[in-house]
């Protein structure tokens, strides 16, 4: 899809964060360690990072829920600490930890949010009904949320963030746990919101999601932004081609990785029986690699050359793959520790 450019002359960023620091005394965690972000009006910034990277913490500061211990942030030029009341009128939040009331119906929830946003009464009623219609929830409008499916819950969560038609939208992992169809549906809604001028800051662990929706991506790890750019730039930085060589079994793959050594200054990566090389000149290296493996009696069962994905970017930056689902089991014990960190509110 094609997004319109930001209106000419609108030089002020929609969201700006400078050197944000947040330390949680409990657990002595430096959740944010100098994060700077900038989202231009009318664009989507994808915040990408592994579990515990600090994505939710950044969103909570930007949406005035937490106050930073250092640095500053502003939404449409309004400081999130000093002018929190103004910022709250400009933002919508749908998040990992922010929900609506399970015992209220969809319609009651949207009306509650409208009233608490001090919208004129007529506008609240109209907007609630229009959103229910738009999100395919008209039939379920009078049922308590307890009876909603996971996909319907996400849609009502997003609808609740849109009652006041906020120009800035924060979405914290909006599609985690959804099936592919529901994810597609939600992506379409987000694209529509951007088309009509909404600025979106979205956190995700799905690289595909960032690739599809985000104009720019910031990769966060250990409370720092370790890379920033358009998805294309990030991929280009990585090198031209990824060679995937599949061997008979993982031990052969390790042997192959050791044999091949560094190429263009990058070590091969191992994933089961597959070895991946990121190189400048794919076809030439591929031929060379096949000859070398053949000489050492390592049987190649599969070979693929492809453009690098954001997943590859992520891997080369953070040293591990993005975890799509929180399985709690990664090869990285530190990532596990972070994944097991206490849920929000457990302080």
């Amino acid at each position: 899809m094609v997004y319109p450019l930001a209106p000419a002359g609108d030089v002020q960023p929609a969201v700006e964060a400078v050197d944000l620091v947040k330390v949680f005394a409990k657990g002595n965690v430096r959740a944010l360690d100098g994060v700077s972000l900038r989202v231009e009006a009318g664009t989507v910034l994808g915040l990408l990072g592994p579990n515990g990277a600090g994505k939710t913490t950044a969103v909570r500061i930007l949406s005035t829920i937490l106050t930073p211990d250092g640095g500053r942030a502003a939404v449409l030029g309004h400081d999130v600490v000093r002018e929190a009341d103004v910022v709250r009128q400009l933002i919508g939040l749908a998040g990992q930890y922010a929900t609506v009331d399970e015992n209220l119906t969809g319609r009651e929830n949207l009306r509650m949010v409208g009233r608490l946003s001090h919208l004129p009464k007529g506008q609240t009623l109209e907007q609630a009904d229009a959103l229910l219609e738009q999100f395919g929830l008209a039939e379920a409008a009078n049922r308590p949320l307890k009876t909603y499916s996971g996909g319907m819950r996400r849609r009502i969560d997003l609808a609740a963030a849109l009652v006041s038609r906020p120009p800035i939208l924060f979405l914290d992992e909006p599609t985690t746990g959804l099936d592919p169809q529901s994810r597609q549906d939600l992506w379409l809604v987000i694209e529509e919101l951007v088309r009509v001028g909404t600025t979106v800051l979205l956190t995700t662990q799905y690289l595909e999601e960032a690739d599809r929706l985000a104009h720019r991506v910031a990769v966060v790890d250990h409370g720092r932004v370790i890379a920033e750019g358009t998805p294309a730039e990030l991929k280009a930085d990585l090198g031209a081609t990824v060679i995937e060589i599949t061997l008979a079994d993982p031990p052969s793959a390790s042997a192959a990785a050791a044999l091949l050594g560094n190429r263009d200054g990058k070590a091969p990566t191992l994933d089961g029986a597959t070895v991946e090389l990121t190189v400048e000149d794919g076809p030439r290296v591929a031929a060379e690699v096949l000859r070398a493996l053949d000489q050492h009696q390592l049987t190649v069962v599969g070979l693929a050359l492809r453009e690098p994905s954001l997943d590859d970017v992520f891997l080369s930056l953070t040293g591990h793959r993005a975890e799509a689902e929180r399985t709690g089991s990664t090869d990285d014990p530190e990532a596990d520790r972070r994944a097991l960190a206490p849920a929000r509110g457990g302080r």
């Binding site: 829920i65 933002i91 930890y97 609506v100 009331d101 608490l116 001090h118 219609e133 509110g345």
Partner: protein
């Protein structure tokens, strides 16, 4: 349907009208109250069981212990009702803790914090909803009491004043239980944390038996603690004076306790709420 109008951003920043900040705060508190009251009605079994409990207390104490406990100057059922009123609103305050702990841990408060609503609304709305529920509970106990022989000995004005006193006391107490709810790590702990406060206060009191039947060391506590003051104040207002057990001084002391609880606990709860994030 016009999709675009529903989603098009609106950059309007609403300023409160003069004196409107307070009006917004009141409106927000009422919205949250409304939401909490709807929550009660959506869990009908909770309403059923929380109504059963005071009814059982009236019936059990009236018929099981009533024969064994003698209170000079009045019948046991007349004596008992004040105790059931107070015991029920005391234990009912646990729902303030549990409700707030749930809102906090399920993420509703997280959402509220990103809305331009008054910061006071979550607590004010919760305690007001519990006040409304207490009105219903007191009326229910009165009705059941009347069926089993309870009769007001004074007049309607004093009786209503007594009920208002109990409601005020319960309202102040709700703010204290709000602190427990905001501090507990989940709603189950919130419930468990409340009981060590509730049991001694409610049962080591004049709620169900005259304190003169207790050992001396316990009497000293039982006579002076606020629950006894409140129960005896209620008796003074429902049954009149002429008793060695209660007098109008109980009414003033209970009123002082009720106001004191509110004045001290409400600001503490607000402080705790600010920090619970």
């Amino acid at each position: 349907m016009n999709t675009t109008a529903t989603l098009t951003p609106d950059r309007t920043i609403r300023q409160p009208p003069t004196g409107g900040r307070l009006r917004w705060a009141v409106a927000d508190a009422l919205t949250v109250t409304w939401r909490n009251l709807i929550n009660y009605t959506r869990i009908p079994d909770a309403i059923f069981f929380s109504s059963i409990q005071p009814i059982m207390f009236v019936l059990l104490f009236r018929y099981v212990f009533g024969g064994a406990i003698h209170v000079p100057g009045t019948t046991y059922v007349n004596y008992l009702i004040a105790g059931v009123y107070v015991q029920t609103v005391m234990f009912g305050a646990v729902s303030t803790s549990v409700g707030l702990a749930e809102d906090l841990h399920k993420g509703l408060i997280e959402r509220f914090r990103a809305l331009p609503m008054a910061r006071s609304a979550v607590l004010a709305g919760r305690t007001t909803a519990d006040l409304v529920r207490n009105v219903g509970v007191l009326l229910l106990i009165t009705a059941v009491g009347y069926l089993v022989g309870f009769r007001v000995q004074t007049n309607a004005v004093e009786f209503v004043a007594g009920l208002l006193l109990v409601l005020l006391f319960a309202y102040g107490l709700s703010w204290g239980f709000a602190i427990i709810g905001l501090s507990a790590s989940n709603s189950e702990t919130a419930q468990l944390a409340a009981f060590p406060v509730l049991f001694p206060l409610t049962f080591a009191s004049s709620a169900f038996v005259p304190v003169t039947s207790m050992p001396g060391w316990l009497q000293a506590f039982a006579v002076h603690q606020p629950v006894s003051q409140l129960v005896d104040a209620m008796r003074q207002l429902m049954l009149g004076g002429h008793s060695a057990y209660w007098s109008s001084s109980n009414v003033w002391q209970a009123l002082a306790w009720a106001v004191g609880l509110l004045v001290v606990l409400a600001p503490l709860a607000v402080l705790r709420y600010r920090r619970a994030a």
